[in-house]
């Protein structure tokens, strides 16, 4: 058998490269998105637990203070809306972590409308009683954008309109 020539190595390299699964990139992309979703859900679950325990302690404490968030929202009962992701003033990437806001206490049977640059994106936002998760549209330009939520309770009353500036890279 002849020795290994540079040509042999090149050919074998090309053969190996050519044997990569045709949908490799799609599979990798899916794996990254799945991992991101799992991690966000885990963070959200952990935060929900913290909020629930915190809320329970607060409601049981005598002379409880009203939270700054609820004061900003101008709601009669305390209703916290906290932006979990991105962290304060951190920019985000379009294919990075999505925007995620937590609501406590849960807005049971209420409606949350999501506006991004005043465009209603409620239909593409993921929502439950505790959380809103939004992936900004792919075509969003880099720079500052306005995210506004409308929290409407089951009686149709606007309970809050928190607004944040989101920086996209």
């Amino acid at each position: 058998m002849n020795g290994i020539t540079e040509q042999d190595l090149k050919q074998e390299g090309e053969r190996v490269l050519g044997s990569a699964p045709p949908d490799l990139e799609a599979r990798l992309g899916r794996a990254v998105r799945r991992d991101r979703t799992i991690r966000i859900r885990a963070a959200v679950a952990a935060l929900a637990a913290i909020l629930l325990i915190g809320g329970y302690i607060l409601t049981r404490a005598p002379g409880q203070r009203s939270s700054p968030e609820s004061a900003a929202l101008g709601t009669p009962d305390y209703l916290n809306v906290a932006l979990i992701s991105p962290p304060e003033e951190s920019p985000i990437h379009l294919d990075g972590e999505p925007i995620c806001a937590a609501i406590y206490p849960p807005l049971l049977n209420g409606v949350v409308r999501v506006y991004f640059d005043e465009q209603d994106l409620t239909s593409i936002a993921e929502r439950n009683d505790h959380f809103i998760i939004l992936d900004p549209p792919r075509e969003t330009a880099a720079g500052p954008h306005l995210l506004r939520l409308e929290l409407i309770d089951q009686e149709g009353k606007l309970r809050g309109e928190p607004t944040w500036v989101i920086y996209i890279l």
Partner: protein, 163 residues
Amino acid sequence: MNRRPPFHRLIDRHGRTLWAYFMAATGSKETASDLTQETFLQAFRGWKRFRGESKPFTWLYAIARKILARHYRRAGVERRAEERLKSEAAGSCPGDSSDEERGFMIRQAVSQLSEPFREAILLHYFADLSVARIAESLGIPEGTVKSRLARGRKILNRMWEQV
């Protein structure tokens, strides 16, 4: 200034390169796919910390190297590959054609090289990286990469003669 490209572009640009690197290093398509996925997952988790001070591939490759080293440690793959090489040399090789057989033996021979030579050969011939890019990724001069490639080929030929 932040110079990070969108993450999905990293997958498009370097997914196959890393897959070929892992495939040549492990000899298994399944393992190559798993290790490539693990590399990108780790990269994605650390993406926020990537400041763009080095090129994205250099950063990805640093992760890939660690993952491959861990894979070798965990599975004792090197030892098994050696045993497989011996048994293949004595008997038959997988694959139907003589090209596949020869290719398999070439990959097995490459896996027997010591790390600096194996790395240079894998990156240059299997991951299709230029000498300049390997030098940048490994943080060594181009001349060193060239000499590792030349010496690696020489060692491979010596190993081939023995087989």
